[in-house]
Point group: C3
Chain length 109, copies 3
Amino acid sequence: MKLVIAVVQDKDSNRLANALVKEGFRATKLASTGGFLKAGNTTFMIGIEDECIPEVMKTIKANCQVRDQLVTPVSPMGGTTDSYIPFPVEVQVGGAAVFVLPVERFEHF
Amino acid sequence: MKLVIAVVQDKDSNRLANALVKEGFRATKLASTGGFLKAGNTTFMIGIEDECIPEVMKTIKANCQVRDQLVTPVSPMGGTTDSYIPFPVEVQVGGAAVFVLPVERFEHF
Amino acid sequence: MKLVIAVVQDKDSNRLANALVKEGFRATKLASTGGFLKAGNTTFMIGIEDECIPEVMKTIKANCQVRDQLVTPVSPMGGTTDSYIPFPVEVQVGGAAVFVLPVERFEHF
Ligand code: NI
Ligand code: NI
Ligand code: NI
């Protein structure tokens, strides 16, 4: 038995939760802020058997991997100027920090 | 030293917190959602000496065990009909997922 | 690799977060209540290499140590009486409960 603690960006949180449910894993979400990742984040706790580690890792990676995303910034002044032409820029989103902790005992009441 | 992480239903949370205080255990509650249990839940972190594990387990089990509860459902349409007679049904409530983690070092500043 | 879980008082939380960032440590904050400490608290999760444990411990101790603070209580009746002269009293603030957990595997996606 292991306890997987995964810190992921908020924007990947729902997709990861759905993917874990679909794979039959039970996860608890903790409200969290700051730290491992630059944006708002969510911490997942997932209790699993040792042999499921590769599948959980694969699921987290598939849903949270760092990738570039095109974002169109708003006008820097918030107004309209003839000289300002917004164009999309690439920003890095996603990412996950995943800790696998040993569990000495697990009980289910 | 161990760190006990217990995910319990919100409805059992206050009772468990009071029972732990009464037994002299110190617990920290984390806001959590979804996952191990079907309803809203709370995650307890309890730092204890190894020899206290049985007592903590007993306290969690006594306050959070899965049990059936009678619930009277409201009218399915939310209105009043002559043909609808509500009667109590049994639903399962409670339950706890409890992880005991090894602690390599504990400091109290 | 270790996962440090530190429960500290809310009033020390921002200062500790800033100190950890300054030292180059990545911490995730979890909203938490009650328990190890008497006042509102925050739980930090900090993933670090083994050799950084002393520096992290020093940082937590420096920013969260229990200390006495002078507090001037308000009138016990909330009104004004000629006979009541408020004077500062010492109360204990701060403190941290710090758990160092072994990490079997760490991944960064
Ligand atoms: Ni169950
Ligand atoms: Ni103390
Ligand atoms: Ni990174």
